[in-house]
C-alpha cells in the first residue's frame, strides 16, 4: 500500500531524512525505533504533510498515488492517519462535531452521503466501547483539559472512527502509565485487520509487548539501518543502539 523510496527531507535547511526506503503491505504492523533525533517523528510528519518539512528527494506512493503531491486533508481522505505525539488542545471545538466533520468530509471525498445523526451516534458508541474511551470526554471540547493519557486515547478513538488504511502512531506510548498503555494497545489490536496497516514509532520495546509487530526497523541519521522481526526489538532493548551506530560508521573494507 505504501512505498517509500529514497526519501529525503529537510526542515529549515537541516537535512533530517537522508534516503529512506520502506514498503508496507496491508495487514502488516511495522515498528520504527531509533535513538533521539534520528528522524522518526520527522518521517511521520513528512508522511502526514506537515508544513515545516520540505521534501528534497525521493518518492512516496500510497495506493498508486503520489502521496507527496496531496494536501494533508487529502492524505487523510485517502486513508492515512497520524496519531500525534502531542495532540493539540482546541477550546471551542467540540470533540464530537470535529469527528463528525472529519468523517463526513472523508465520506464526501469518497462520494458517499454524510452519515445521519443516528448512525453516527451508534458508531461513536460502538467505537468508544472498543477503545475504552470515556463517553464524557467525547462531548467535551477537543482535548481541552485532557490528561496526557486521555489525549492519546482520544487519538485512538479518532483512529477507530475514521478507519484509516494506514495508521502511524507517533510515540503514542510516551507519557502513558502502564494501564493507559494497555488500553491504547488493546484498542489498536482490536482495530487490526488484513486490510489495514500500522506504523508504530516508539523508543521502547515495552509497547511492542502489547502491539506485536511483524517488522522492526531501526532509524538512524535519517535512514533505516537495520530491519528485522520483533526479535530485533528485544535485542535493542538489551544492547541499546550503539552497536548499530558503529556498524554504520565503520569504514567499508
Amino acid at each position: 500500500m505504501l512505498s517509500i523510496k529514497n526519501l529525503q527531507a529537510q526542515v529549515e535547511d537541516k537535512q533530517i531524512l537522508k534516503g529512506l526506503n520502506l514498503t508496507i503491505n496491508p495487514g502488516e504492523v511495522h515498528a520504527i525505533m531509533g535513538p533521539n533525533g534520528s528522524g522518526k517523528s520527522s518521517l511521520a510528519s513528512v508522511l502526514a504533510g506537515r508544513d515545516a518539512y520540505e521534501v528534497t528527494g525521493g518518492e512516496v506512493e500510497f495506493y498508486g498515488k503520489d502521496l507527496l503531491e496531496l494536501s494533508p486533508e487529502d492524505r487523510a481522505r485517502e486513508g492515512l492517519f497520524l496519531a500525534f505525539q502531542y495532540p493539540v488542545e482546541i477550546p471551542g471545538v467540540s470533540n464530537i462535531n470535529f469527528l463528525k466533520t472529519a468523517m463526513n468530509e472523508i465520506r464526501a471525498y469518497k462520494g458517499l452521503e454524510p452519515l445521519d445523526a443516528k448512525s453516527f451516534l451508534k458508531l461513536s458508541k460502538e467505537k468508544q466501547q472498543l477503545v475504552e474511551f470515556d463517553a464524557k470526554l467525547v462531548n467535551r471540547c477537543l482535548n481541552e483539559g485532557f490528561s496526557g493519557g486521555e489525549k492519546k486515547r482520544n487519538e485512538i478513538f479518532q483512529l477507530a472512527m475514521l478507519e484509516p488504511r494506514l495508521a502511524i502512531l507517533d510515540e503514542t506510548d510516551s507519557g502513558l502509565d502502564i494501564d493507559a498503555l494497555r488500553i491504547v494497545a488493546n484498542g489498536v489490536n482490536a482495530l487490526r485487520s488484513k486490510d489495514n496497516a500500522f506504523v508504530v514509532i516508539t523508543h521502547y520495546q515495552r509497547l511492542l509487548d502489547y502491539i506485536v509487530p511483524d517488522f522492526v526497523h531501526v532509524l538512524f541519521d535519517g535512514k533505516i539501518i537495520k530491519s528485522g522481526t520483533k526479535v530485533l526489538a528485544l535485542e535493542l532493548e538489551e544492547k541499546g543502539y550503539d552497536w548499530l551506530k558503529e556498524s554504520v560508521h565503520a569504514p567499508i573494507v
Binding site: A48, S71, E73, F81, G92, V93
Partner: protein, 436 residues
C-alpha cells in the same frame, strides 16, 4: 472648525434645522434640539484630531450630496427584503422600520408592550421625561447632531412587572438608491420588574447608499431586565454610526450583544452604560467580523457611579482582507463605587497580513475597594491546530471556519437564544475566506 464648511451636508443640515423650527413640536423637545445644535456647531463632524475618532475618519464618507430629513425616501419595502433579517426557526414579534420610520405592525403586540413612533408619542409624559436624559452630548458630536435633527424613530415601553413569551425582533431596513443621511431616534423604557428581549437587525436593500446616525436611549427601571441584541448586516455602501446610551436603576440587569458582520464600509458603535444605582449587573458582549475594506469601531463606556455593581465586557474581533478594527473600552469606577467588580477583555484574530486592529482598553479607578481587570490580545490562527484538523481529513476552509467559530465561542455561547446562536455561527462560517 472650518473644515466642516467644505462638506455640503453640513449646510444642508443647518437648513433642515430652520425648516424644523416651523413644525409643531413639544416645546421641551424643541429646546433639546436647539441646545444640541449648539453643541454640534461647536464640535462639527469629528476628525481624526479628536481623540475618540483617532482611528476612524468619517468625513470621507460624508462628501456626497445627501438627501437629509424630509427628502429621505420612506416607502415601505417588499416583504422579501425582510427575509434578509429572518432568524431561521425563531418565533418573535416582528417590528419593522424603513430608514428609521416605524411601519404598521403585521401582528398586534401583546398589550404589555407599546411601540409608537416618536412623533405619535411626543406628548407622552414618559417620553418627555426620558428623552435626552440618558445621552451625554458634550463629547458626542454625532449624538448631538441626532438630538438636534432626528427624524422618526420609535418609543418602546414595557409595562412594569411583565414579560413577553418571545423576543421582539426589530428589523431596521435601510433603503435608498440615492445617498441618504438618516437619523432615527429611539427610546426604550423597561419599567420596574419587567423583562424583555430585543433583537435589532440592521439590513439594507441591494445598492442602498445610506449613512445612519442613530441614537437609542435605554432606561432600565428597578429590577428591570433587558437582553439587547444588535445585528449589523447591512450592505457595503452603508455607514452606521450607532449610539446606544443606557441608564440602569437598582437591581437591573442589562445584557448587550453586538454583532458587526461583513457589509457596511463603516461601523461605529458608541455604547455607553451609566450605572446610576447600586446592585446592578451589566454584560457587554461583542463580535466583529471585518472583511474587504471595512472599518469597525467599537467604543464603549461603563460608568460605575454607585457601589456594589458588576460589569463584564468581552469583545472579540476577526479581521480579514484589509479590514480595520478599533476597540476602545473605557471603564470608570467613580469614588463612590466601592465593591465594584469590573472586567473587560478584547481578543482579536487577524486572518490577513493587511488587516489591522487598534485596541485600547482603558480603566480609570477612583475607588479603593474594587476588583477590576482588563486585557487585550492580538493573534493569528495556530498552524498546529490547523494541521491537526486537516490531518483528520477536514479541508483548510472548514478548519479555518472551525477555529474562527471556536475563537468566537466565548461570545457566541453567551447568546441566550439557540436559534440566534446558530444563525451567528452560520454567518461566521460563511465569511471565512477560502485562501490565505
Amino acid at each position: 472648525m472650518t473644515p466642516q464648511v467644505t462638506l455640503p451636508i453640513y449646510d444642508d443640515l443647518l437648513k433642515d434645522f430652520s425648516k424644523l423650527e416651523m413644525k409643531a413640536e413639544h416645546e421641551q423637545i424643541r429646546q433639546k434640539r436647539r441646545n444640541a445644535l449648539e453643541v454640534f456647531k461647536r464640535t462639527g463632524f469629528p476628525t481624526r484630531k479628536h481623540e475618540d475618532w483617532k482611528y476612524t475618519a468619517v468625513t470621507p464618507y460624508l462628501q456626497a450630496n445627501f438627501r437629509t430629513n424630509g427628502s429621505v425616501p420612506i416607502a415601505p419595502v417588499a416583504v422579501d427584503y425582510l427575509k434578509l433579517a429572518a432568524i431561521p426557526g425563531l418565533d418573535c414579534y416582528r417590528v419593522v422600520t424603513v430608514n428609521g420610520v416605524l411601519q404598521p405592525t403585521e401582528v398586534a403586540l401583546p398589550s404589555n408592550v407599546k411601540i409608537r413612533s416618536m412623533a405619535e408619542a411626543q406628548e407622552d409624559a414618559g417620553l418627555l421625561k426620558h428623552f435626552g436624559s440618558v445621552s451625554v452630548l458634550d463629547k458626542a458630536p454625532f449624538a448631538a447632531l441626532n438630538t438636534a435633527l432626528f427624524a422618526h424613530g420609535f418609543f418602546l415601553e414595557m409595562d412594569a412587572n411583565t414579560s413577553l413569551d418571545k423576543p421582539i425582533h426589530l428589523v431596521q431596513v435601510l433603503s435608498s438608491d440615492a445617498h441618504a443621511f438618516v437619523q432615527p431616534r429611539n427610546l426604550v423604557v423597561i419599567h420596574a420588574g419587567a423583562n424583555a428581549t430585543l433583537i435589532e437587525s440592521v439590513v439594507s436593500t441591494p445598492g442602498t447608499k445610506v449613512f445612519v446616525n442613530s441614537v437609542t436611549e435605554v432606561v432600565l427601571k428597578e429590577n428591570a431586565q433587558l437582553q439587547h441584541y444588535v445585528l449589523q448586516m447591512a450592505e457595503k455602501e452603508t455607514q452606521l454610526i450607532q449610539q446606544n446610551d443606557v441608564s440602569q436603576s437598582m437591581h437591573s440587569l442589562y445584557s448587550n450583544y453586538t454583532f458587526s458582520l461583513p457589509g457596511s464600509s463603516l461601523i461605529r458603535n458608541n455604547l455607553n452604560v451609566a450605572l446610576d444605582a447600586q446592585q446592578t449587573e451589566t454584560h457587554l458582549y461583542g463580535l466583529y467580523l471585518g472583511t474587504g475594506n471595512q472599518l469597525i469601531d467599537n467604543h464603549s463606556l461603563v460608568d460605575h457611579k454607585m457601589p456594589h455593581c458588576n460589569s463584564n465586557e468581552m469583545y472579540k474581533g476577526v479581521l480579514m482582507d484589509r479590514a480595520t478594527g478599533v476597540f476602545n473600552g473605557k471603564v470608570f469606577v467613580q469614588q463612590d463605587a466601592q465593591k465594584t467588580n469590573a472586567f473587560q477583555q478584547n481578543n482579536n484574530l487577524l486572518l490577513s497580513d493587511e488587516a489591522t486592529i487598534n485596541s485600547k482598553p482603558q480603566l480609570e479607578i477612583f475607588a479603593d475597594d474594587v476588583k477590576c481587570s482588563h486585557g487585550s490580545t492580538v493573534g493569528q490562527l495556530s498552524k498546529e491546530s490547523m494541521f491537526y484538523l486537516q490531518s483528520r481529513g477536514i479541508s483548510e476552509q472548514s478548519a479555518r471556519a472551525m477555529l474562527v467559530n471556536a475563537f468566537a465561542f466565548d461570545v457566541t455561547e453567551k447568546i441566550g437564544i439557540p436559534q440566534l446562536e446558530k444563525f451567528i455561527n452560520h454567518k461566521i462560517t460563511a465569511h471565512i475566506p477560502a485562501l490565505n
